[in-house]
Symmetry: C2
Subunit: 326 residues, 2 copies
Amino acid sequence: MKALVYEGVETLTFRDVPDPTPGPDEQLIRISAVGICGSDMHAYLGHDDRRPAPLILGHEAAGVIVGGARDGERVTINPLVTCGSCYACENGRENLCPTRQIISMPPREGAFAQYVAMPPQNLVTVPDHVALKKAALAEPLAVGWHAVKLALEALHPAMDQSALVLGGGAIGLAAALALRAMGVEDITIVEPNDARRAFLNDICLQKAAQSATGQYSIVIDAVGYAATRTTASQLACPGGVMAHIGLGEDMGGLDIRRMTLQEITFIGTYVYTAQDFRNTAQAIFDGSLGDLDWIETRALKDGAAAFAALRSGQIAAPKIILDPWA
Amino acid sequence: MKALVYEGVETLTFRDVPDPTPGPDEQLIRISAVGICGSDMHAYLGHDDRRPAPLILGHEAAGVIVGGARDGERVTINPLVTCGSCYACENGRENLCPTRQIISMPPREGAFAQYVAMPPQNLVTVPDHVALKKAALAEPLAVGWHAVKLALEALHPAMDQSALVLGGGAIGLAAALALRAMGVEDITIVEPNDARRAFLNDICLQKAAQSATGQYSIVIDAVGYAATRTTASQLACPGGVMAHIGLGEDMGGLDIRRMTLQEITFIGTYVYTAQDFRNTAQAIFDGSLGDLDWIETRALKDGAAAFAALRSGQIAAPKIILDPWA
């Protein structure tokens, strides 16, 4: 098959690789659409020790099952492979499974390829009326969904729900869409990039600003740098909740004195539970996350150019979807 | 009356001051016992801008009501004065009241004095079988109680409850006692000071260690320095909860990358709600916080010497109680 292989810092090659060999209980999926994630960019820049070259990146994928009882079924892929039997898996917190794997990280190759092999329980059926390129958004949308769910669970029920989302990339937008789907009406996204901010306002119909003031009961940090954490910890209102998704910088930024004196809760949030993934997919299917017309589609064979364009800040759309067959 | 007045950095003077003048709805209380808090030490060292000299410090007090319908009633004092009508007060989160005041911080003088004036709703009746010097522990014990309550509420119900408490001063010990009172059995206190650690093990019958390894579902940081936050964020287990009480250093220390990847929740926690204070007092009265024989009593007139001894690390007991009449 053809795949886009990460071969070293800022080097991606579209070339022939062996087809994946499904394990005894796995399904082969013909990939129709696969998104580029910020973590793929991080790996491409050589900043992720967990993703050494050579490696096929990509973990936001949808496609069609090939072979077996479900042959021909259109599916979106939960890329998180977990044991199913540990404390975390048995309590619906699969994302905390100590042996969790994700495709695009050894030992599992990713989905910037024509085929991938997955356990069947990771495959969520996509109804015919939903395009697979939109179904491929289930993964990034589930990241935002999970973060928002944790934040709302932690928020005191008597508090007004006003939300600030830092970062208007796919995860920030996903958080904003999840907030609205879960009933929060007052949502502001902070996005400093002019083109992206205009896209959020004009195409995604969000309220996006260059910077923020005021106080918010919910702050979602979808960037994860020291500077965004400083903003988040200063704009969370007393008794409010911050959900922190990003992995930009490892330490620093939080105004811990203020968080202590004002009882602000910080929730580290990583990917999603299996139920969150299914609920997000359902929300895509029933339209409660909007029409999802904020993707730009390119051929996987042109993936290197897409990464370069993203890297240089030329892309206004929050998500690029690659087509392995174009 | 006599009071111990903070007159400048490391300067405390026991001298005559005017008697407090109760406001129209306030009660006068003759103070029988008042504890020295870490925050008093912080102010004494000139490190608290909120407590400028000259000022009467002290906010952990119990005594006897003087005058009015409740004349002669033995009470312990909730030192937090709140408006009663804001969102926070109306929802049982008085500690987040935007106009909250605490005695020992302007505009309210503290309880290192023979008398103090307080609103009657801040006074909790102490039964005859409880010594007022133990009832004065309600305030620091309520700080630990509130932190533990928030941590347990945030903890996933399926998780094993194992707790690490960083710091074996009064607040750390209070957290350990509250954990046990709320049903947590596996509790380790980390206390590097040899004399204090021995006191915790031998007198307080706690499990106190010089340092800790392992993983804990609940970590209480009762110190609040960057170094303790590093320890806390590394020893909290995946999906675990940190409650952060201390105000040692304003920023730094948290391993935010790990907290994000392992979904660790950080809760800033400050003082207590009015209900937590009452519940803590009740737990003192019914014995569920132990016999509280970990106090050392001195005369308020010798307060300056007590602060100096505390400052030089000579005190093993977690709490010094001062008597304004000795």
